[in-house]
Amino acid sequence: MSVQEAAAAVQSELSDLAESIETRERDVLVRCAAKDIPQVMARLRDGATSCDYLTFVTAADYPPSEDRGRMDLWYHLRSLSLRIEVLVTASIARDGESVRTVSDLYPTAVWHERECYDLLGVVFAGHPDLTRILLPDDWRGHPLRKDYTEDMNDLTYTTEKRWPEMSEARKPGG
């Protein structure tokens, strides 16, 4: 299926949900509201586009300048049978707003959304296990946010800090 045909198929599936549909060189770029993400993804998966393969989920952080700032979500879908690619994007507020998980539609999203939460702090509502995946559980901050600074975590390593009970025992007379 060519990109033009793919765009037409996406248009017919999402005529009421998409804010814009752009035909690009290799893929179709769909913009929609964050609250519609699960519905958009479900229609792309089950409709004529048959996008049965979620390649990745990610986000990009835009810190506040004049406005409140925003977080752009990006979903990349493929149809392995029709050989088309669809990029879905939506914006949410940086803090306090969440987006519904798509892990019930695509099991692979469980890990991709965990990574997105870990590195960017995006909260996916209804996610079965929204924990950190790449960074340690006690890490502070989300490093791929543009306002993250390296001094948010104390990375100097001493036995006293890591195992306070052990250093207590080591003291003379302790």
Binding site: D52, A60, L80, E85, L134
Partner: protein, 373 residues
């Protein structure tokens, strides 16, 4: 204490076992938390991130040109994959044309490294099954390819061969003959491997019918590469989302039918033969010309988004970039095949015995550098 004939109490409660982080068969630093009842696995949770080196974070600060050499450290068993994917994302974003000869050399280097990577898989898979012979055999053949890369790029593994807009070096005189000789040797040894390993009764007994994965499950979990193709998912980025000049070569996309560990093994064996075929076609028809487009002194990418994905030895390796008109991507997301393939493990290990974990994990062929990024 001796029980003096009294029956010892039967323990059948659940047991939680940590496999890793340091374990020879996890090929890196990976922890599997296995919940067992007796020998059977009831659930599995992968703990990853031990090798996280903030590649995305570094790239967003260092810029395209200075972070390209770092990509070699992601999938260190097939570094060309990540280099190519990153260069592809930059080229698609900035509309950079790549000279014809460079495209052919990219194909040559990628296919040679695919063979090298699959040879490591065959060897370590044998090692996991306690057939150390395989390891010794395949590493001997891999060394032929490492020598070629040393002559081509000066490095064996972290070669930084692919650049934005082309490749780093042209083929030195006489290397094409050497590559042909190496391919001859490898192809004859592949036949030897079939006798030694593929038709080996012990290997077959431990892999045949073990951890069959359905095509639907592969798609749902985003599995790609030989793992998905062994289950019959007919998708190969080289053919189905063409990049470079792959449309000019004649090769077959190898599919399995059962999706068990043996299929994943034989698929890779066959892919090596197909890669060798492509390499020969490149050497036969390598066009003359430039090997690199001249980039401006400060290479910048315009505003926009681009996704460059290549078919690596471990599936789809893709770089998703958002440009903002500077020398660095505003946001760079690395999609690695191993990440999604490893996720599948949590699902497929359930119901198998502890002794099969090593086989199943080995058959997925993971590289933790690629997964943790």
């Amino acid at each position: 204490m001796a029980t003096h004939g009294r029956k010892a109490p039967l323990h059948n409660e659940e047991m939680l076992i940590n496999m890793g982080p340091q374990h020879p068969s996890t090929h890196g630093v990976l922890r599997l938390v296995l919940r067992l009842r007796g020998e059977m696995i009831e659930s599995c949770r992968c703990v990853i991130g031990y090798l996280h080196r903030c590649h995305e974070y570094i790239s967003e600060r260092n810029g395209w040109i200075r972070s390209l050499p770092l990509t070699d450290r992601l999938d260190y068993l097939s570094p060309i994959t990540c280099e190519w994917a990153m260069a592809l994302a930059a080229e698609r974003l900035a509309q950079v044309e790549v000279p014809e000869r460079a495209e052919w050399l990219r194909v040559l280097s990628a296919e040679l490294y695919r063979i090298a990577s699959h040879l490591v898989f065959v060897g370590t898979f044998g090692n996991d099954l306690a057939a150390v012979t395989m390891f010794l055999h395949t590493f001997r053949e891999r060394e032929l390819i490492m020598d070629i890369f040393e002559k081509l790029t000066g490095q064996r593994m972290t070669c930084h061969y692919i650049r934005v807009g082309g490749v780093g070096w042209d083929l030195p005189a006489g290397l094409d003959r050497e590559i042909r000789q190496a391919l001859d040797v490898i192809e004859s040894r592949l036949r030897e491997y079939d006798d030694l390993f593929t038709n080996n009764r012990i290997l077959r007994a431990r892999t045949e019918g073990v951890a069959e994965i359905s095509a639907e499950r592969c798609r749902a979990y985003g599995a790609s590469g030989p793992v998905a193709r062994a289950s019959g998912v007919d998708f190969d980025l080289r053919r189905d989302a063409p990049y470079g000049v792959y449309d000019r070569f004649d090769y077959r996309v190898i599919l399995g039918n059962r999706g068990d560990c043996l299929d994943r093994f034989t698929c890779r064996m066959e892919e090596m033969r197909q890669s060798a075929r492509i390499c020969r076609q490149v050497l036969d028809g390598l066009p003359p010309g430039e090997i690199r487009t001249k980039l401006p002194a400060r290479f910048k990418t315009p505003e926009g988004v681009a996704y460059g994905a290549v078919e690596g030895a471990r599936g789809e390796c893709g770089y998703f970039a958002i440009g903002d008109g500077t020398e660095a991507p505003y946001r760079l997301k690395i999609r690695s095949g191993g990440f999604s393939n490893l996720h599948l493990i949590e699902d497929i290990l359930v119901g198998w015995k502890v002794a099969d974990v090593v086989t199943i994990l080995g058959s997925i062929d993971i590289v933790l550098g690629d997964i943790d990024r």
